[in-house]
C-alpha cells in the first residue's frame, strides 16, 4: 500500500503535466515519465515481469515512437494551442467525468480482487508464459494477426508509388 501512496501522486502529476504542457516534446517526455513510474509501481508490488515489460515496451518502444514522430514532423503553433485550452478542458472534463463516476461507482460496490492483501505471491515467469500461450492463445494469435496487418499497412503507406525503386548501392 505504501508504494502506491508514494507513487500515485507522482504518476498523477506527471500525467497531468503530459496533458497540460503546450510544447509537444515536453508532453511526450512527461508521458514517458508517467509510463516509467507505472512500471516502477509494478516492480514495487512484486509484478517484476509485467514491470520490466512495461518499461521495455512503453518507455523503450511507444515513447520513442512518439518522440521520433515529433522529430520528423513540424511543430504546431503553441500560442494557438494555449488559446484553445478552455474549450479542450471543457471537452476533456465532459469525457472524463462519466468514466470517473463509473469507476467510483464500481469501487464503491467492492473491489474485484483483494488489493490491500499481501497474500499474493510473485508469479514466476513460467506461469505467466503458460497462461499466455495456454489459455490465452486465441487472444495472443488475434493480436499477432492484427499487428502483422498493421505492419503491412504501414509499409504500404510509407511506400511512394510514384518513385522508381532505388538504384543499386555502390
Amino acid at each position: 500500500m505504501i508504494p502506491l501512496l508514494i507513487l500515485s501522486p507522482l504518476i498523477l502529476l506527471a500525467a497531468l503535466g503530459a496533458v497540460w504542457k503546450a510544447r509537444p516534446v515536453h508532453a511526450a517526455l512527461l508521458l514517458a515519465l508517467t509510463l516509467a513510474l507505472v512500471a516502477v509501481f509494478y516492480l514495487t508490488v512484486g509484478a517484476e515481469f509485467v514491470g520490466l515489460v512495461q518499461f521495455m515496451v512503453y518507455v523503450g518502444g511507444v515513447a520513442i515512437l512518439i518522440v521520433f514522430a515529433l522529430l520528423i514532423t513540424r511543430p504546431g503553433d503553441e500560442a494557438a494551442e494555449v488559446a484553445r485550452r478552455p474549450r479542450s478542458l471543457a471537452l476533456g472534463l465532459s469525457c472524463v467525468a462519466p468514466v470517473l463516476g463509473l469507476l467510483l461507482y464500481a469501487f464503491s460496490k467492492g473491489l474485484p480482487v483483494d488489493v490491500a492483501g499481501e497474500t499474493n505471491p510473485p508469479l514466476p515467469v513460467k506461469a505467466v508464459g503458460m497462461e499466455l500461450f495456454g489459455n490465452a492463445v486465441p487472444a495472443v494469435l488475434a493480436v499477432a494477426v492484427l499487428l502483422t496487418a498493421v505492419l503491412i499497412g504501414a509499409a504500404l503507406f510509407a511506400r511512394d508509388p510514384g518513385k522508381k525503386p532505388e538504384p543499386p548501392i555502390g
Binding site: 520490466l52 521495455m56 521520433f68 522529430l71 515467469v125 548501392i169 555502390g170
Partner: protein, 423 residues
C-alpha cells in the same frame, strides 16, 4: 610490504590446491571470492556493530555497487588509453606517449582536462533537459553492469529476470540520446539524435531476437542460470558454450554486430560521425558532461560485451577441462578483454557505413536471419543435439545466408575501381 606478500602467498597456495573451488565461502581471501571481499567486509563490519538486517542488506548492496563502479571506471580509464594505443598500432603511429611511462598517465591527464574545462550551456538550450541527458546516459549502463555474473561467487544482483532487466535498463539510453539532441537547441545534435535513435531501434531487434534463442534453449531468464546451462564439455574437451552450436554461432555473430551498433562504435558510428555532423548529439556539450557521454558509451560497451560473453561464450566457465582451479572471474575478465580487443580491431579496420546501408543491413539481413535462428534453435533442441542436428540446422541457416550474400554482393558490386590519388 609484508601484508600484500602474505595475501599473494595465501592466494597462490589456495589456488594451487583447488581449495577455492571446493570451499568458496570458508575464507574471505579465497581467490574465487576476491571480488566479493568489499561486500563481505561491509557485511561483517555492520554485523559486528549489531546493525539491523535491512541496514546490512543496504550496505551489502551499496558495497557491491561500489565494487562494480570502481572496477569498470578503472577499466574505462585503461580502455581509453589501450584503445588509442591499439588504433595507433593499427594505423602505424605511436599513440599517446608523453604523460608518464608509455603514456600510462594519459587517462589522468584527460580526466583533469575534462574536469577543468568550461561547462557551456547554449542559450537556446533547455538547461534542465540539457543536464538530464548525460546523467541518463550513464545510469542504464551501470544498472546493466549490475546483473552480469562475473564469477561463480560474484553476481552483484542475481535477478531471476536478469536478461529482461538488462534490456529494460538499456531502453533508457535511447530516450537520453533524444533528450540530448533536442535540448541542445541546435541542428547537428538534432540530426545526430535522429540517426542515433533510428539506428538503435533497428539494431535492438536483432539483438533481442538473438538473445531470445538462448533463453529458449536454457529455459531461464536468469543470467547465472544461463551460464550454468553452458557448463560441461562435449567429447571431453569442447566446451558446451552456445557459440559452438550452429544456431548459437549465427545468433552470436548477429549479437556481436548488433551490439557493436548499439554501442555506436565504428563501423556504425554514424550518430557521431566526426566528418559529417561534428559530434552528433554531443555537439553542444563540453567538459564533464561530454566526459559523461563518453563514459556511458564505454560502460555500455562493457555491459553489452559482458552480456554477449554470458549468453554465448559460457560466462565464467573455463575454456578447457582441468582449469577449474583458476578463479572463475579471471576467465570472465579474460574473455571480456578478448571481446573488447576484437571491437577495437574492428574499429581500426572497417570504414564507416552510410546511413542507407546501415538501415538496409539491419532490416533486410540481420532481422530475417535472427528470426531464422528461433526455429533452428527449436530444431536443435528436438533433433538430439548431435550430428543430425548439425546437418539440419546448418542447412537451414546456410541456404538463406548464401542467397542473401549473393544478392548483397551483386547489388554492391564495384567493377574494379582504380584509385589514383597516391600514385
Amino acid at each position: 610490504m609484508r601484508v600484500p606478500a602474505l595475501i599473494a602467498l595465501v592466494m597462490a597456495a589456495s589456488a594451487s590446491c583447488g581449495w577455492a573451488a571446493e570451499a568458496p565461502n570458508r575464507s574471505l581471501l579465497a581467490p574465487e571470492a576476491l571480488p566479493r571481499l568489499p561486500q563481505r567486509l561491509v557485511e561483517l563490519g555492520l554485523e559486528a556493530l549489531k546493525a539491523p538486517d535491512w541496514l546490512v542488506a543496504i550496505g551489502s548492496f551499496a558495497a557491491a555497487a561500489g565494487t562494480v563502479v570502481a572496477v569498470f571506471l578503472t577499466a574505462f580509464a585503461l580502455l581509453s588509453l589501450i584503445e588509442r594505443k591499439t588504433l595507433a598500432r593499427i594505423q602505424n603511429r605511436i599513440g599517446p606517449n608523453r604523460a608518464g611511462p608509455f603514456g600510462l598517465l594519459q587517462p589522468v591527464a584527460d580526466g583533469i582536462k575534462m574536469l577543468t574545462k568550461e561547462d557551456i550551456v547554449p542559450t537556446k538550450s533547455e538547461w534542465f533537459l540539457h543536464l538530464l541527458a548525460p546523467v541518463m546516459i550513464v545510469i542504464p549502463s551501470i544498472l546493466a553492469l549490475g546483473v552480469i555474473p562475473y564469477g561463480r561467487e560474484w553476481v552483484p544482483v542475481d535477478l531471476p529476470l536478469g536478461l529482461l532487466f538488462f534490456f529494460a535498463a538499456g531502453t533508457m539510453t535511447e530516450l537520453a540520446v533524444f533528450i540530448a539532441g533536442w535540448a541542445s537547441g541546435s541542428k547537428f545534435p538534432m540530426l545526430g539524435a535522429m540517426r542515433a535513435i533510428s539506428q538503435m531501434v533497428s539494431y535492438e531487434l536483432p539483438l533481442i531476437i538473438s538473445a531470445t534463442s538462448v533463453v529458449m534453449l536454457s529455459g531461464t531468464l536468469s543470467l547465472s542460470g544461463i551460464v550454468e546451462a553452458q557448463a560441461g564439455f562435449h567429447l571431453g574437451f569442447i566446451p558446451a558454450w552456445y557459440i559452438l552450436t550452429p544456431w548459437g554461432f549465427v545468433a552470436g555473430v548477429i549479437f556481436l554486430i548488433a551490439g557493436n551498433a548499439e554501442s555506436n562504435r565504428c563501423p556504425f558510428d554514424l550518430p557521431e560521425g566526426e566528418s559529417e555532423i561534428v559530434a552528433g548529439h554531443m555537439t553542444e556539450y563540453s567538459g564533464f558532461k561530454y566526459a559523461l557521454f563518453f563514459m556511458g558509451e564505454y560502460l555500455g560497451l562493457f555491459a553489452i560485451s559482458g552480456l554477449g560473453i554470458t549468453l554465448f561464450l559460457g560466462g565464467w566457465q573455463p575454456p578447457l577441462p582441468g582449469l577449474g582451479f583458476v578463479p572463475s572471474w579471471i576467465w570472465f575478465f579474460g574473455k571480456l578483454a578478448a571481446v573488447i580487443f576484437f571491437f577495437l580491431w574492428v574499429r581500426g579496420t572497417f570504414p564507416r557505413v552510410r546511413i542507407d546501408q546501415l538501415m538496409r543491413f539491419a532490416w533486410l539481413c540481420l532481422i530475417p536471419v535472427s528470426l531464422l535462428t528461433l526455429p533452428v534453435a527449436a530444431i536443435w533442441q528436438y533433433s538430439g543435439k548431435g550430428a543430425l542436428g548439425w546437418l539440419l540446422c546448418s542447412a537451414i541457416l546456410l541456404v538463406p545466408f548464401i542467397i542473401l550474400t549473393v544478392r548483397f554482393n551483386r547489388r554492391m558490386a564495384t567493377n574494379n575501381r582504380r584509385y589514383t590519388f597516391a600514385e
